[in-house]
Each structure stands twice: as structure tokens, then as C-alpha cells.
């Protein structure tokens, strides 16, 4: 699904990613942990195609294609989903309208018919019911005035409706209360499947209790410095990142 080789990237002139190697296959869940400023969100942004993040070396293939040949919106229509660490507020943009437009952009790309208002509502109601959430948030402007937890929930609703193949969820568990964490985790688990891959960026072992990862990686100063199974997350929870050396990056 995703092959990252020796990926180097800068933000402005500053080198942030310094040779990332990572291979994610269909059906797998990977967790990426690491200290603040290590480059986790940068990795997500580079993969999603954000402007201002410059790839200086290395390659990424996604579903067998060169990812960097695709614009951000093409990647999204091709099934790459970035759950934002800080979802952006869109004043005046109605949540329902936005999500229907996004859904139809993806559907048309897949050769499916665009949904009209009624059919979209049906799809949405079904997904919302699966998630055990409600659609109140979608009646407002996207993310405007949402609490931190509500923004994260909204990301999960979007993910469920858009039905992507590769999901990079950047701290989707941060700022959630205990009940919301369970809901969000259940929502992520619903997305698992042989054709789907999930990359969870998180600071907390707790999420990984609900969403069992196949692999856990430690990202530090722009490189993956350790990889292992779920037990690695438990070790990090206890010992922190001291074992990987003092953090020069911060």
C-alpha cells in the first residue's frame, strides 16, 4: 500500500525528515510515536501533499504509484486520508455541503455516480449510526467553534463517509475524553480491513489498547529509530524516549 524509502524533507529551509523508511501493507495498523517536534506531523503533511513541505530526497509509492506525481486533492480522491492534528475551521462552509462535495469528488473519481442530497443523507445517517455519533456537528460551519474533541470526532465522521484506503491519523486521540476515545477508537476499528491500512500518530498507549497496532515505530529527529510490536508502546509509556538519546531537535 505505502512504501517510504529514505524520505528527506524540509520545511522552509529547515531539514525535518532525515531519511524515513517505512513499509505499510494492506490490513496493517502502524503506530508512530515520538517526542514533540520529531517530525510526525511533517511526515503526514508530506504524504498528504501540503504546500511548503519540500521533498529533497527519497521516494514514496502509494498503491504502486509515485505519490509525488499526484497533487494533494488527487491523493485524497485516490483514497489517502489525513486526519489533522489541528483540524482547520472553515467559517461559512456548511459541514453537510462540504462533506457531500468531498464524497462526490471521491465517488466520481472511482467511477461511481454522484449522490444527490437525499442519497447522501442516507449514506451519512448510516455511517453516523455505525459510529454511534450524531450529525449535529455537520449542520454547523466546518469545525467553527467546535471543542477540541468535537473536531477530532468530525475527522472520524469524514473518514467513515469518504471510505479511504490509507488513513494517517495525526493525534486523533489527543483532547478526547474517555468516552469519546472509545467512540473514536471504535470508529477507527470499523475502518480496518484487508484492503485498508492505518497509520496512527499518537503520544499515548491508551489509544493502542483500543486499536491494536501490528507495528509500533519511534520517530525521533526525522528518522525512525526503533520499530517493534505493541509491547514497544508499553515500554515507551513507562520509560519515555530517553533511551534514544537527548533530543537535539527540540
Amino acid at each position: 500500500m505505502l512504501e517510504i524509502q529514505n524520505l528527506h524533507a524540509t520545511v522552509g529551509d529547515k531539514p525535518i525528515l532525515k531519511g524515513i523508511n517505512l513499509s505499510v501493507k494492506g490490513g496493517e495498523v502502524h503506530a508512530i510515536m515520538g517526542p514533540n517536534g520529531a517530525g510526525k506531523s511533517t511526515l503526514g503533511n508530506v504524504l498528504a501533499g501540503r504546500e511548503g513541505y519540500n521533498v529533497t530526497d527519497g521516494s514514496v509509492s502509494y498503491q504502486g504509484k509515485d505519490l509525488f506525481e499526484l497533487e494533494a486533492d488527487e491523493r485524497a480522491r485516490d483514497g489517502l486520508f489525513l486526519g489533522f492534528q489541528y483540524p482547520v475551521e472553515l467559517p461559512g462552509v456548511n459541514g453537510m455541503t462540504f462533506l457531500r462535495m468531498a464524497t462526490n469528488a471521491v465517488r466520481e473519481h472511482r467511477g461511481e455516480e454522484a449522490l444527490d442530497g437525499m442519497d447522501f443523507l442516507k449514506l451519512l445517517k448510516g455511517k453516523i449510526a455505525d459510529l454511534d455519533m450524531d450529525d449535529a456537528l455537520l449542520k454547523r460551519s466546518v469545525n467553527v467553534g467546535f471543542s477540541g474533541g468535537e473536531k477530532k470526532r468530525n475527522e472520524i465522521i469524514q473518514m467513515a463517509v469518504l471510505d479511504p484506503h490509507l488513513m494517517i491519523l495525526d493525534e486523533t486521540d489527543s483532547g478526547l475524553d474517555i468516552d469519546a476515545l472509545k467512540l473514536v477508537s471504535a470508529g477507527i476499528n470499523l475502518m480496518r480491513g484487508p484492503e485498508k491500512a492505518i497509520v496512527l500518530v499518537t503520544h499515548y498507549q491508551r489509544l493502542l489498547d483500543y486499536v491494536k497496532p501490528d507495528f509500533v515505530h519511534v520517530l525521533r529527529d526525522g528518522q525512525i529509530v526503533d520499530s517493534g510490536g505493541p509491547e514497544l508502546a508499553q515500554k515507551l509509556e513507562k520509560e519515555g524516549y530517553a533511551a534514544y538519546g537527548a533530543d537535539e531537535a527540540a
Partner: protein, 428 residues
């Protein structure tokens, strides 16, 4: 006397025979007032951004065939409204609704309603200072318009829609006189669809009596080369309410001017508008809300989206006279520039003589937000769609000033159509 006067005098004489009451002395009176002032020059602050060059040429031109316009009109008619259609500045009954039989509403086209009161009202407006010269010129050359009176306590649920189109290449002068009697309510919509007028010069004289309310919408959907200059003069009595809304979308120049005097306590004057411009369009908003008495409120909200070499102007003045204690006046002008070459000019002006008042104004100029664009693109929307969604989001709240949902959606739809048209969003 002004250097341009002879040119205008010649054209005035030539135009008179075709005008209603064409040879009446009141037209000469109005013309003399205009002639004494001449066209306002762009050295005057209020006219700095609106060039009247188009007026310095031929003022009369070929009228278009009204039958051919029936289709265009049909497409713009607001469902359920009372329609009055003006082709080349003249009322066309065949394209309009029947005007009789609505309880409490007296309405007729101006050319057929030129009684002494109306004539006095026309002639006495404008001509006091050079900024008002076009009002005086309008008085001299007015071809038609409406005279509307809503009777005391009457509530007219049908919007009254005036549609201006098919204007010739010259100058068209329309005058509307609206008298809201105590406790009455009505909604007036003016829609201009002019394809090619050099200048459409519309003057509205509105009086809102005690406890009356007028919702007044203006759709400036003119064709590419058109210049549309609209002025509304407004007086508000005790506990009355005026809610003005303008969409400045079409035409090379769209100028929306409101001069409001609040004369009765506890009245409210709301003005809102949206300017959309591309190419070299000018969107010029000039307001003056004069708080003459205590305990009144006014609220002005204008947003502009300018692309390419377009420019927007907001010159919003609020006067709070010495007696007008407890005035609450707010004013906001927000601008989004889609291209480096577009400009926004925001010039709020507060003139306050009373000491116990709340007055606030704010102006912002910004561009499309890269983070917001990326968020939308990361969900699969292409750049063009993402930009349009954000632009529509930026102006979305201004429409809230329109109380009636059907009208609100109508205006939203028109704005959206403009933003999806050619020449938008590709000048960044």
C-alpha cells in the same frame, strides 16, 4: 456654470420631447441645479473611485426591443413577487404584474404619477452640493420609476420587484419614491440586468414613518460594460426599521450609495452588502447614517471579494449628533483579495458629537487562507472548487441580514452564479 454644461444642455433639450412632462419647467429647474454644479470630479472624496467618463459622451442611444427581453426577464423574476419591468428606463405593463387590487398598496409608474407632491419631491432632492449633482441630473432627465405608498398599518407580503434592463448605450434615469406610512411593512427588490447602458442612474427617495418597516434589496447584476449608480435617500421616523441589502456583482462600475437620516427615536437602520469584482471592476459603497435623535441603532456590514485588477471601496460614515445620546452604531467592512493586483479601500468615518454612545467600526483585508485550502484539498476537492467554497463561506453570513428565506436563497444563488462564472479565481 461648469465647462461641461453646454454639452449637457444640448442633450437635455434633445431628450425633453420624449420624456414624460418633458417641457415642464420643473425639469428646467432640476437641470439648472445640475448645471450649476457640473459632474462631480474624481477629486471629490465621495467620487474618487467612480469615474463618470461614460457620461461625457453621447447620452442617448438605441433602445432595445422589449419583446426579445421577455425571456431574460422571466429568468430573473422572483417567484410570487409583484413585478414591474422597466425596459430602457420605461415601464412596460405587458411584462409587468397587474398593479391594482392589493389591499393597502398604492403603486404606479412614475411617468403616470407626476402630481405636484411627487414633482416637488423629485425636484427638491439633490443639487445642494457637488456630490449630489447626479441626483439633480436624474431630476432633469428622469424617464420613469415607481411611486409606492403603503397605507398605515398595511403589511404587504408580496415582495415588490423592479426589474431594469434593456437599457440603451446612453444614460438612463430612474426615480423611485417610496412612502411607508405608520406601522406598514413591505419588501422592495430592485434588480438591474442591464447589458449595455453607459450609465444607469437610479435615485430612490424613501420615507419610513413611525413603526413602519421596509426591507430593500438591490441586485446589481448588470452586464460587463455597464455603469450602475444607485443612490437611496432615506428618512426614518420613530421605531421604524429599514434593512438595506445590496449585491454589487455585475457591471464595470457598481456604486451603491445610501444617505440615511434617523429622525425618530428607537429606530434601526441596517445596511449590508456584498461586492464581487474581477477584471477592472469597481465596487463602490458610500454610506452615511446620520443619527439625529437619541436611542437609535445602526448596523453596517459589507464584504467584498476582489479578483484580478478589481477594486472595492467602502466609505462608511456615521454621524452622531449632539442630541443623539445612547446611539449604538456598528460598522464592519471585510475584504478578501484573490489577486495581488486587486485592491480594497476601506474608509470608515465616525463623527460623534454626543458623549454617551457606542460606536464601533472595523475593517480587514485578507486573502484566501492556505491552511483552509489545504484542508479542503486533503478531502478531495480540486483547487478551484475549494477556493469557491471558501469564498462563498466568507460572504455567507452577510446574507443573514435578509430576513425572508426565499429572498435570501435567491440572492445567495445569484452570488454563487457569479462566483462560478468566467474570469473568477484564476488570477492568483
Amino acid at each position: 456654470m461648469n465647462a461641461e454644461t453646454p454639452l449637457f444642455a444640448e442633450q437635455f433639450e434633445a431628450a425633453r420631447p420624449a420624456l414624460p412632462d418633458g417641457n415642464a419647467s420643473w425639469r428646467q429647474l432640476a437641470f439648472d441645479r445640475f448645471a450649476a454644479l457640473g459632474l462631480p470630479s474624481q477629486q471629490r472624496e465621495a467620487w474618487r473611485y467612480t469615474s463618470l467618463a461614460a457620461l461625457r459622451g453621447e447620452l442617448t442611444g438605441q433602445a432595445l426591443d422589449s419583446a426579445a427581453l421577455a425571456e431574460t426577464v422571466a429568468a430573473q423574476k422572483i417567484d410570487g413577487a409583484l413585478h414591474l419591468v422597466f425596459v430602457a428606463g420605461q415601464f412596460v405593463p405587458e411584462l409587468s404584474s397587474a398593479l391594482e387590487g392589493i389591499d393597502g398598496l398604492s403603486i404606479g409608474n412614475l411617468a403616470d404619477s407626476l402630481d405636484d407632491t411627487t414633482v416637488d419631491q423629485i425636484v427638491l432632492a439633490g443639487g445642494e452640493n457637488p456630490d449630489e449633482a447626479l441626483v439633480a441630473l436624474n431630476g432633469a432627465l428622469v424617464s420613469d420609476g415607481v411611486v409606492v405608498e403603503v397605507a398605515e398599518g398595511a403589511s404587504i407580503t408580496q415582495p415588490i420587484q423592479l426589474i431594469y434592463l434593456g437599457n440603451p448605450t446612453g444614460l438612463v434615469n430612474i426615480r423611485n419614491i417610496v412612502r411607508m406610512q405608520p406601522g406598514s411593512r413591505a419588501t422592495l427588490v430592485e434588480t438591474a440586468l442591464d447589458a449595455n447602458a453607459a450609465v444607469l442612474n437610479v435615485v430612490n427617495q424613501v420615507t419610513v414613518a413611525a413603526e413602519a418597516r421596509l426591507d430593500h434589496l438591490r441586485v446589481m447584476d448588470d452586464g460587463a460594460g455597464a455603469n450602475h449608480i444607485a443612490q437611496t435617500r432615506l428618512t426614518l421616523a420613530e421605531k421604524s426599521h429599514y434593512e438595506g441589502f445590496a449585491l454589487l456583482a455585475g457591471g464595470a462600475i457598481a456604486r451603491y450609495e445610501v444617505q440615511a437620516v434617523i429622525e425618530g427615536e428607537q429606530a434601526h437602520c441596517g445596511l449590508a452588502g456584498i461586492g464581487l469584482g474581477t477584471g477592472k471592476d469597481v465596487r463602490d459603497v458610500i454610506t452615511h447614517v446620520d443619527h439625529a435623535v437619541p436611542n437609535c441603532t445602526s448596523d453596517q456590514t459589507f464584504k467584498n471579494v476582489m479578483d484580478d485588477h478589481a477594486s472595492s471601496v467602502f466609505q462608511g460614515k456615521v454621524t452622531v449628533r449632539q442630541d443623539a445620546q445612547h446611539t449604538d452604531a456598528i460598522q464592519s467592512n471585510q475584504n478578501m483579495l484573490l489577486a495581488r493586483t486587486a485592491t480594497a479601500n476601506a474608509k470608515p468615518e465616525l463623527v460623534i458629537f454626543a458623549d454617551d454612545v457606542k460606536c464601533a467600526h472595523g475593517a480587514t483585508v485578507g486573502e484566501l487562507d492556505a491552511d483552509q485550502l489545504f484542508y479542503l484539498q486533503a478531502r478531495g476537492l480540486n483547487e478551484q472548487t475549494a477556493r469557491q467554497l471558501l469564498i462563498e463561506g466568507f460572504i455567507a453570513d452577510v446574507f443573514e441580514a435578509i430576513g425572508d428565506e426565499a429572498l435570501r436563497n435567491h440572492l445567495r444563488g445569484l452570488a454563487s452564479t457569479w462566483l462560478h462564472g468566467d474570469g473568477w479565481g484564476d488570477h492568483a
